[in-house]
Each structure stands twice: as structure tokens, then as C-alpha cells.
């Protein structure tokens, strides 16, 4: 009997291909390894063992963690602003022409908006004392959401209490681990954080380069075929904060359709600035808003308030009310600031000529800035945000930053508030080129524009 059994086993061994035997052996060995070999300290003969109590105490005594934070090592330059910020800004006591802060329409100085906000203050107080779910929803929030949805031609809107958290919360509400996102390499930092928080696989395409996007998409088709259930998203900005360029929206929409992506568009800058009635890129380029799955905007730049919003179909937006982290888990927008946003939207509708005025100024500024010899101008001519890069390509990033800082200082002493765009270079996705970021204000007169360009020209000539 036993002989039969041995014979049987022997014949099985003989009939099994060698590679199977090898694999089986390796598998068995690794299982045994996992069971018996544990990481940890070893004794003199190389065998592993647990530390004794004394050794543990010794290890605790010897543990030296890094400092919580490094010494900064340099004095952080701090310019203090006083008074009200508007077309002019008072920096360290000096009144300067302001082409540095976002106030495209000049509504920060609008008295009607302020007065209505004060009425709201006397009705609701300052804080809302709760998140939207827990008695933090005031009637003004619902009004603002209705107004935004109507204004943008969408079914529903959702308001966030912080501009940064809007896109940063909206993206991870939909895109999860295993999903795939295609994003422009120059997207702003808030979007980058949203991409990171989603834990999805992110592919960046070259800035505004549709051929590169298509190449990437084609390249990833086999991957998608393998996992057809994985959602895929396309993320872009209407006007890019980091370059001032406009995205080719019709092409993006065509690609969205062709490859079945969902398109998220950040209209932070373009909302309330471009298009005949300020409705943004969709209006300017005549794209049906329904073609875009989610549009985000800011209430901090064209609108003189705080916060941000998303608009889209009910199907899409409703989801954020339970899954948008910055929406669910944060106190809602203070009612007086909500009222300010509502009044600003009313102003948009009452005075649609504001937008053409702004575009005129933007064009003028664009033309003038393009004539500056030492700089390379970046940005669409319609965009209220423009960047001036240093022409000199020989210099390192650090050198450029230093030169730009000097220019800013000199401009300030000439009563022109201009800003070198600040980045956390080690945290950014695509190293942004150092630049001066110019923001256009509707209230700038021809003389202001001339004056600004002259100062810049003189200062840059004296420094570069």
C-alpha cells in the first residue's frame, strides 16, 4: 500500500514540468519565510529576537527626532497694508496705484454692496456658527446659490466659504482612488491639492497643448480598456492663474466627447470678467454650459467677497452637499459676505457694460505691456491677469526672483503696487517661471496705464 503511494507521488513528480516544481518551491519557501522570519533586531548569532525591557528604554533614550520645524534662516519681508484696498492700495504708509490685487471690476469700492452688507450684518451678525448641514444654511445662502445657478445657466449651484477649498474639495468629491485625471500642467495650486487629495492617477499634459493631451489619451487607451469602470476626468482652468492664458474650450469639449471624459473647468478668473455679460468662457466662446460637467468660480476676485462656488446639473452638484469636504465640514460663508456676493451679481445684471469696459482696459494694458523691452508678456489679451517674465534666459530661477523683487521694491517707491507672483517652489507641480503678475482693474484710466508702464520701463531699465 505504502509502496503504491510512494510510487504514485514519484510519478506525479516525474510528470510535473520542472518550472512548476520550482515555482511551487519558491512559493512554499516564501510562505515559510513570512511566517517565521520577522523584521526586528537580531542577536549576536544573527537570529531575530525581541528587545529586552532595558534595551527598549535605551532605544527610547537614544531616539532623537528631527526638529519640528527648521529655523527659517531669513527675515520674512512683510509689507503692511492699511486702509481700504481698491484701485489704490496703501502699503507701508505709501499710497500706490494697485495692479497687484484681484479686483477686476473695481467692485471693492462699490458703496451699494457695502451698504447692503451692513444691513445684513444688522440682521444676522457676523458668523454663521455652523456648517451648512447644522443650521448654518441661511436664507441668503440659498438666494446666492439660486442667483449663481441662474446667472451661469445651470441647474444648481453650491457655495463654499473659501476660494481655495472650492476646487480642492470638488475634485476629490468625484474622483477617487483608481480613477484617472488628465490635467493641464499649469493648473493653479488649489487644483493641484484637489488632484492630490483625490488619490487618483493624474497625468499632466503640456500647457494648452491639445495634441499632447490627445497623445496622452491615446497612450492610456489600453489601460482604460483593462478597467472600463474607472472614471476619467479632464481638469482645466478658464484663464490660467499661473500664465494668464485662456484654455481652448471648444477643443477640450470635443476631446471630452471623443474620449468620454468628464470636464471640470475652473473659471475663477474668467467668471465675471469675460463674455458679453460676464458669464465667462462659455459665453465668450459660445459653448453650451451643459457640455461641461462642473464649472467652478471664485467670489474673491471679480466679486468683492470671500468664497467660491460650483455650478452644474442637479445630478452633479447635489453630490457635493454630502461629499464636498470643504462644504460639509466647514462653517458656512458669513451672511454679510454672502449678501455682498448677491449684490455684486445684481450689479452684474444691472450694468453689463462693466464687462466690455474691463475688456477694453485689459486690451489696452496688454498692448502697452507688450511694448516693454526687458519682459516677455504672457496672457490672453482679454484676460485681466497677465504675467511678465524676464526676457533674459541665462539667469537662474533664484537670480530672476531677486531681480523681480528689486523691481517690485523700486515700483513701490514710485507709487506703483505690483507683485512678483509668490509660489511654494518645492511644492508646485511644474516649476512656475518667476514673473510679475499684473491684474487689471476696470477703473484704470489711460493715464494710469501709461504711468504704470512708464514706471515699469524705467525701473526695469535701471535694474536689468
Amino acid at each position: 500500500m505504502s509502496i503504491l503511494l510512494v510510487g504514485e507521488i514519484f510519478s506525479i513528480l516525474l510528470n510535473t514540468p520542472t518550472y512548476v516544481l520550482v515555482i511551487e518551491f519558491i512559493l512554499t519557501a516564501s510562505v515559510l519565510c513570512m511566517i517565521f522570519v520577522r523584521s526586528g533586531p537580531r542577536d549576536n548569532s544573527g537570529r531575530k529576537r525581541k528587545l529586552t525591557k532595558e534595551e527598549e528604554e535605551e532605544a527610547i533614550k537614544n531616539y532623537t527626532p528631527e526638529d519640528l520645524i527648521e529655523e527659517l534662516g531669513y527675515e520674512l519681508s512683510s509689507k503692511t497694508v492699511t486702509g481700504r484696498v481698491g484701485k489704490h492700495i496703501t502699503i507701508d504708509g505709501k499710497k500706490c496705484l494697485n495692479v497687484a490685487t484681484h479686483n477686476y471690476l473695481g467692485l471693492l469700492e462699490d458703496q451699494t454692496i457695502l451698504e447692503k452688507a451692513m444691513v445684513s450684518l444688522k440682521k444676522y451678525g457676523v458668523g454663521s456658527c455652523g456648517p451648512r448641514g447644522f443650521y448654518g444654511t441661511l436664507d441668503v445662502h440659498l438666494d446666492l446659490e439660486d442667483k449663481l445657478a441662474k446667472f451661469m445657466g445651470a441647474e444648481e449651484a453650491v457655495v463654499y466659504s473659501y476660494g481655495f477649498s472650492t476646487m480642492a474639495s470638488a475634485i476629490p468629491a468625484y474622483s477617487k482612488r483608481n480613477d484617472v485625471i488628465f490635467a493641464d500642467e499649469k493648473v493653479n495650486f488649489a487644483i493641484q491639492k484637489g488632484l492630490q487629495a483625490s488619490r487618483s492617477t493624474v497625468y499632466f499634459y503640456k500647457h494648452n497643448n491639445m495634441a499632447d493631451l490627445e497623445r496622452l489619451l491615446l497612450e492610456k487607451i489600453p489601460l482604460h480598456k483593462k478597467n472600463p469602470k474607472h472614471r476619467r476626468f479632464l481638469v482645466a482652468e478658464g484663464i490660467y492663474m499661473n500664465t494668464g492664458e485662456m484654455c481652448p474650450l471648444p477643443e477640450l469639449v470635443a476631446i471630452r466627447k471623443k474620449y468620454q471624459l468628464r470636464l471640470f473647468l475652473d473659471e475663477g478668473i474668467s467668471f465675471g470678467t469675460i463674455g458679453k455679460t460676464g458669464r465667462g468662457l462659455t459665453e465668450l466662446l459660445n459653448v453650451d454650459p451643459l457640455e461641461i460637467d462642473l464649472i467652478c468660480g471664485s467670489l474673491e476676485w471679480a466679486v468683492p467677497s470671500v468664497g467660491g462656488f460650483c455650478v452644474g446639473s442637479h445630478f452633479i452638484i447635489e453630490h457635493q452637499r454630502l461629499s464636498g469636504l470643504g462644504y460639509c465640514f466647514s462653517a458656512s460663508l458669513p451672511p454679510l459676505l454672502t449678501q455682498a456676493a448677491i449684490t455684486a451679481l445684481d450689479t452684474f445684471e444691472e450694468h453689463p457694460e462693466m464687462f466690455s469696459e474691463l475688456v477694453e482696459v485689459s486690451k489696452k494694458v496688454h498692448k502697452e505691456l507688450a511694448s516693454l523691452p526687458k519682459f516677455k508678456l504672457s496672457g490672453d489679451k482679454l484676460s485681466p491677469v497677465k504675467h511678465l517674465f524676464l526676457e533674459d534666459q541665462q539667469k537662474t530661477v533664484e537670480e530672476k526672483i531677486l531681480i523681480l523683487e528689486q523691481i517690485v521694491e523700486k515700483c513701490l517707491s514710485n507709487s506703483l503696487a505690483i507683485v512678483d507672483a509668490k509660489y511654494l517652489l518645492d511644492k508646485e507641480q511644474a516649476n512656475p517661471e518667476p514673473s510679475l503678475r499684473i491684474t487689471v482693474n476696470r477703473k484704470l484710466t489711460d493715464d494710469d496705464v501709461k504711468n504704470c508702464v512708464n514706471v515699469l520701463k524705467n525701473v526695469s531699465n535701471s535694474i536689468c
Binding site: K122, G136, S161, F189, Q196, L322
Partner: protein, 521 residues
């Protein structure tokens, strides 16, 4: 510190396993900073079984419902052939389970969220898919808003000074702090905050949620270890995720578990690479907003010192609301604020404003000013928000020359103890620390959350209900937030109503002996 029953070196804790089904009604009394003051009574086994049964019943009904009635918003338009946008369970849950009691959340109000609040009445004609306003309003006693010190007000010094500031410097400053958003008023708020907390320096941000989410990545990097309490707020979890550090979770307020993990990680380092951790940080909250518990700070400080870890303390719900001077849990336990490496908090709750702060050593704050995501990219705190903080904080500190602040702090402490003791006397199960102004009342069953919120609204009391997924399935609860502006009469009315409905709905789960004597206010 001594009279808090705390003894160094004796890191004790009591039975924490309140999610299990064992009958551990008896609490072990061991010397601990919050022992005898904190309670997490277990539900009777019968209730636990019924809760699960009820939940599964709801789910089954939901599935049946789904089979026969197509939802109103099920379809995404113009996106044929796309993979579904939402996970099947997620959309099922929100459409067929949550919708049944959807009316209990997101209730619009149209007044100051003060001691009383005016709800805008709404009805649903389609079982929770949509709501319509009736045009009427209901004034309710407000036990739902985070208005601990009663600074939510539309008149008085805060509103007046805020108006003045708005007229002077406008409603917003649309630039990040590192560019031209560094306004004089921010510097004032930061100085005052540092003075209030008794630390070297502080810096402020426009949103409380973002204070955690955008600053934790500045402090941590891959190769660092974070030991995070399991009940920590979503903003901390997001911040930790963005930081790239390794996060390990310890059981809620469980010092034994924390020490076990600390010890192991200090001795053995990162078990995957064998290298020691660059730094170890303990992340906790002062008062946990869903549990009503208070962090065992003295023990944590001792552990942190012993194992050379750093401590990040989120005082969102405790600053202003705890401690004899309203300076949060550090003040409550009489500890030195310098023992906590990073003090974080928000201005939304006790100060009736918005935004958050980080406070600590000058070195820390300087570094955050230079490297914080928020300071570099996000707009600064709005002037009205900053002014509200300045005025309310000065009142709390007594800098306005009155006892107003002190009185408010005392009133909140008195209201808290009175309300908690009376609830215990009624015989309902409440969680948390006796001095925590957040009072969760356990109702367990999902359907009871809806029932309690609805009935209390009918009796003109506004409260918050919390259920799965914000809490474990087992632990549906109603949360009361107390305020210094509540009067004894208001609390008595609420308690009387709660007593009545507890009989109707069967909420008197507690098996503890009840205090037969009347509770003094």
C-alpha cells in the same frame, strides 16, 4: 493640576470599547485626568440588536423601493456610455435611506443663530426628494449652533465695531498674505490671539477647515509618523493625507493604545524600511465634536515628553468654551501652553466669526508664515471677520474693562453642568465629559434620529441629529450645543420636553442610578 485627579506616570484609562456589544456597564475607576468626569455608557444588548435590525430593515426597504421607483435624479444627461459617476452603494444610500430623514438637515434659518433661531418652514410633497417653502417661520430654542459664548449677535459692541471696520477698510482684501494681503488688522488679530493663548506668536487664516488642511503639510513630510485619534475631524485627516506622512490611528482618547503605538514606533522605527521616524506627531482635538469628550491632555503631554513626540492640538470646539479663562483645554487642565507644540483653533464657534489660527513658538509661526499653502495662495481673512474676532476676544479677556467675558465663560460652564446632570437624571444616555458644552444624546436607532429632531422642532427646539456614516451604525445620536446665552428657563423648557419625548420614544436607556435630588443651577 493636582485636584484634577491626575498623577504623572500612571497613564491609566477606562474601558473604551463602547462600540462592542459586551456588557461593560461598570466603569473602572482609575486615576486619570478625565476619569469620573467622562462617561460612555454601553447600550443594552437588546437595543444594539434592534438598532442593527432596524438599519438592515431600512436598507431592505430601500432596495425594494429602488426596484419599483426610479429616482428623480438618477440619470446623467448627455453622458451615454460613460462609466457611472457614483459608486452604486453611495447613491443608493443617499437616495433611499438618507432621503427618508433628509428634512432633519440643511434646515434654512433666517435670523441670528443666537440662543433662539428662526427656521424657515418647508414641506416636502415627494418624500424628501425636494422641498418647498411654506412662507411661514418658526422661532425655536437653538441647541444646534456652535455659539458657545453667545457672540452670535446682530447688535452690541461686536456688530458695531464690525460695521465701523467695514466702512473703513471694506469687505474683503483679495490678495494672499504673502503678496499684498497682510493688513494691519490681521497683525492686530495675531498679536491678540498670541496674548490670549499665552504663546509667543500666532497666525490666522480665513477658514477653519483650511487651517488644518493647508498647514499640516507644512509641518510634515514623507518619513514622518502621525498618531491620530480615530475621532479626529475631516480637516485633520485631509491635511495628513496631503502631507504625505504615514498616519496611524489610535483608539479614541485611549492612552494605553497611544502609548503602545508610540513605544513600538520609537523603538522599532518604520517597520517597512527599518529606519527611525524623522519625527512623530500626535494629533488630537480638545473637545471632540461628535463624542463630547475632552482630550486627556495631561497624559498626552507626559507621553509626548517621554517619547519625544510633537503634539498638535485642534481646539476648534474648546477654545473659548473650556477653562476658567476660556483659553481652551490647556487652560482647563492648568497646563503650560508651551507644552503643546502646535495650538490650532477656529474662530467660528466661541467667537461668532470665521477662520482659524495656529499658535506656538515664534520659530514655528515664522516658518508657517513663509511656507503655509494658505498664506501663499489663498485670500486673506476678511476685515469684518477679523474685527468680530478682535472685539469678542477683547471681551473674553476682559480688556473692555467689564466682567462680561468672565460672566459668559461662567454661564457656559454652569449651563453645561446643569444640562448634563439633568439629562443624566432623566435617564437618557449621554456621552462625554461633564464640562464639555457638546452633549451627544444617544438614540441609537436611525429612525429615532429623525423622530427626535422632528418632534423637538414641533415643540420649538432646534437640535442636530447625527447618524451613519458620520457615526458608527450603532450610535445614532442627537447633539446639543450649549451656549452662554441660554437662560435657565430655556434649558428647563428643553429638559422638560426631552423628558416627555424620552418616555414616548423610549430613550431612557441608561441603567445608572439616578440622582434623586433636584439639581441646582
Amino acid at each position: 493640576m493636582k485636584n484634577k485627579g491626575y498623577s504623572n506616570g500612571d497613564i491609566a484609562h477606562k474601558s473604551e470599547n463602547h462600540t462592542g456589544l459586551e456588557k461593560t456597564n461598570q466603569e473602572t475607576v482609575i486615576s486619570s485626568s478625565t476619569a469620573n468626569k467622562e462617561s460612555f455608557e454601553e447600550a443594552p444588548l437588546k437595543t444594539a440588536c434592534l438598532t442593527y435590525l432596524g438599519f438592515y430593515l431600512l436598507m431592505i426597504l430601500g432596495y425594494i423601493n429602488q426596484l419599483f421607483f426610479s429616482p428623480k435624479v438618477a440619470k446623467e444627461e448627455n453622458r451615454e456610455g460613460y462609466p457611472p459617476l457614483y459608486e452604486a452603494f453611495e447613491s443608493f444610500y443617499s437616495r433611499y435611506v438618507y432621503r427618508r430623514i433628509r428634512d432633519c438637515w440643511n434646515r434654512p434659518i433666517c435670523s441670528v443663530p443666537g440662543a433662539e433661531v428662526t427656521l424657515k418652514d418647508r414641506v416636502t410633497n415627494d418624500y424628501g426628494w425636494s422641498f418647498e417653502f411654506t412662507g411661514t417661520e418658526t422661532k425655536c430654542l437653538n441647541l444646534g449652533s456652535y455659539n458657545y459664548l453667545g457672540f452670535a449677535a446682530n447688535s452690541g459692541p461686536c456688530a458695531e465695531e464690525t460695521e465701523k471696520t467695514c466702512r473703513e477698510i471694506g469687505l474683503a482684501i483679495p490678495s494672499p498674505r504673502r503678496e499684498y494681503g497682510n493688513h494691519k488688522i490681521h497683525i492686530e488679530v495675531e498679536k491678540l490671539t498670541a496674548q490670549f493663548l499665552g504663546v509667543e506668536d500666532a497666525t490666522v487664516f480665513g477658514m477653519g477647515f483650511a487651517t488644518n488642511a493647508l498647514n499640516l503639510p507644512t509641518l510634515l513630510s514623507p518619513g514622518c509618523l502621525v498618531l491620530s485619534d480615530e475621532k479626529n475631524h475631516a480637516s485633520i485627516i485631509l491635511g495628513l493625507r496631503l502631507s504625505g506622512a504615514t498616519t496611524k490611528v489610535f483608539k479614541h482618547n485611549n492612552m494605553k493604545d497611544l502609548e503602545r503605538q508610540l513605544r513600538r514606533n520609537v523603538i522599532y522605527g518604520n517597520e517597512k524600511t527599518g529606519k527611525p521616524w524623522k519625527k512623530i506627531m500626535i494629533c488630537v482635538e480638545g473637545v471632540f465634536s461628535m463624542e463630547g469628550s475632552v482630550v486627556k491632555l495631561p497624559e498626552i503631554v507626559a507621553l509626548k515628553k517621554k517619547y519625544k513626540a510633537y503634539l498638535y492640538l485642534d481646539e476648534a470646539h474648546s477654545v473659548g468654551a473650556m477653562g476658567p479663562n476660556g483659553r481652551g483645554v490647556v487652560d482647563y487642565f492648568g497646563l503650560d501652553p508651551k507644552d503643546v507644540d502646535i495650538l490650532m483653533g477656529t474662530f467660528t464657534k466661541s467667537f461668532g466669526s470665521a477662520g482659524g489660527y495656529i499658535a506656538g513658538s515664534k520659530k514655528l509661526i515664522d516658518n508657517i508664515r513663509a511656507n503655509s499653502h494658505a498664506h501663499c495662495y489663498a485670500s486673506t481673512m476678511a476685515p469684518p471677520v477679523a474685527q468680530q474676532i478682535l472685539t469678542s476676544m477683547k471681551i473674553i479677556m476682559g480688556l473692555d474693562g467689564t466682567d462680561e467675558g468672565k460672566n459668559r465663560i461662567d454661564a457656559l460652564a454652569r449651563n453645561t453642568r446643569y444640562f448634563r446632570r439633568r439629562l443624566a437624571q432623566i435617564g437618557v444616555i449621554i456621552y462625554g465629559h461633564e464640562d464639555s458644552p457638546v452633549v451627544p444624546l444617544l438614540v441609537y436607532l436611525f429612525s429615532k434620529i429623525g423622530a427626535v429632531v422632528r418632534i423637538l422642532t414641533k415643540r420649538k427646539i432646534a437640535v442636530v441629529g447625527v447618524g451613519f456614516p458620520a457615526t458608527p451604525i450603532m450610535e445614532g445620536r442627537i447633539r446639543f450645543c450649549l451656549s452662554a446665552s441660554h437662560t435657565k428657563e430655556q434649558l428647563d423648557y428643553a429638559l422638560q420636553v426631552i423628558d416627555e419625548i424620552s418616555d414616548q420614544l423610549g430613550l431612557k436607556y441608561s441603567r445608572k442610578s439616578r440622582d434623586p435630588n433636584p439639581i441646582e443651577y
